[in-house]
Amino acid sequence: MDVVLRAEDIHKSYGKTKVLKGISFEVGRGETKVICGPSGAGKSTLLRCLNLLTRPDKGRVWLEDVELTSPSVNINKMRQRIGFVFQEFNLFNHLTALDNVMIGLTKVKKLPKDEARRIAKEALLTVHITEDLWNKYPAQLSGGQKQRVAIARALAMDPVIILYDEPTSALDPHLIGEVLEVMKELARRKVTGLVVTHEIGFALSVADEIMFMYNGKIVERGPPKEVVFNPKHEVTARFFKRISELYGGRK
């Protein structure tokens, strides 16, 4: 299989707190993998270690055939190829939806404006942000629209993989669906993704694998149906039982 992202034995501590205690996994091209686990398990820390927004204390990360954790790597160059979608959207407040998607293309990739605009519009249409919203500022958009613009911003950079950190957790329940729908479409189009989420429906319908994190480790992993319905570990079972009670098995 064509591995695009590989993490090997990632460790991270904050002071005396060991947040990540040796995490290893791979994501193949076109795959969608889901990470879930209780609050404080270290999921966000892990994602941030993958594009080195946070530097792991130990362990290595590869993107395609480049080792990101090698000191000689130009990390800014590599981050262009790793999309990141945040729980809190983090759209640039002073830019319109279109400019939010364009700025990475013009200022980072240094593409000419015309080309950047064309790519940005295409990305916005892919996430179903229609022309009437292109000149709106983030504060004028709904949460679901903001998150879809954020996905377009990542997508426009033509990334090797997109990392999502609980992309629907900050959304009002009635807006979650539109974002998940877009993410599913991308997954079906074989846009490689690594998704931290508690949306079991999403995992069951498009994920190739679920990795369950607990206490800084991946304690269980496997095909979504297996992990969700036949968990091998006590903590995993308890977690999914609680989730399905909370979310009522929403698909």
Partner: protein, 218 residues
């Protein structure tokens, strides 16, 4: 007769403008980099900048004026004309105050903006330039408006160096006419008008550059 001297007093407005414009401009050029250094710089840089801010905010303006005009500039081998010396001192001091305005503004932009910019592959410098500052400068306008009003009034102290601004001229008129009430009232109103007018202009700029829909959490 006092009224004959009004044009002479009004000409002082230009000098006051020079002091305020120069002071604010220089203060901006000093204050913004200081703020950036204080937020994003290393420990040594921060400590150094803190000392600068602490000094220029702690020493009275009058002392600064005398210190630089009579002391520092001559010691550097350049006894500057009063206007230039005053502008520089006002600028150095305003830079210290403005740095605190910009620093607060930068800090209120929110960490997520920087993280998102870096995640796109932007360098730190590029993120500050394209993402942080455009927002921080907008946020800073009200504070900056305040600084304009304060600096405008403080600029009157430059009469002590004989800069031909509003107050200096007013004093000359008082001496020439032997009349104090009308000249000083006129001077007072000139400052009020300038404060009001400048504040108005800056408020318009603030409204015009507002980001639609956004309410900053300060």
């Amino acid at each position: 007769m006092f009224w004959a001297y009004v044009p002479y007093m009004l000409a002082g407005v230009l000098w006051t403008f020079a002091l305020v414009g120069g002071g604010l401009g220089l203060g901006f050029l000093i204050g913004l980099p200081i703020a950036i250094g204080q937020v994003y710089g290393g420990r040594v840089v921060k400590a150094f900048l803190d000392v600068y801010v602490w000094f220029f905010r702690g020493v009275p303006l009058l002392v600064l004026l005398f210190l630089f005009y009579w002391g520092v500039f001559p010691a550097l081998g350049h006894k500057l004309p009063a206007l230039e010396a005053s502008i520089i001192v006002l600028g150095l001091r305003s830079g210290a105050y403005q740095s605190q305005i910009f620093r607060g503004a930068i800090e209120s932009v929110g960490e997520g903006q920087m993280v998102a910019a870096r995640s796109l592959g932007m360098s730190r410098v590029s993120a500050i330039l394209h993402i942080i500052l455009p927002q921080a400068l907008r946020i800073a306008i009200p504070g900056w408006t305040n600084e304009y009003a304060i600096l405008l009034k403080d600029s009157a102290i430059c009469f002590t160096l004989g800069v031909l601004e509003i107050l200096t001229r007013t004093r000359y008129v008082v001496i020439a006419t032997g009349e104090a009430l009308l000249p000083y009232i006129t001077a007072g109103f000139l400052f009020i008008f300038l404060t009001y007018g400048g504040t108005k202009v800056l408020n318009v700029i603030y409204e015009k550059t507002r980001i639609p829909g956004l309410v900053w959490r300060m």
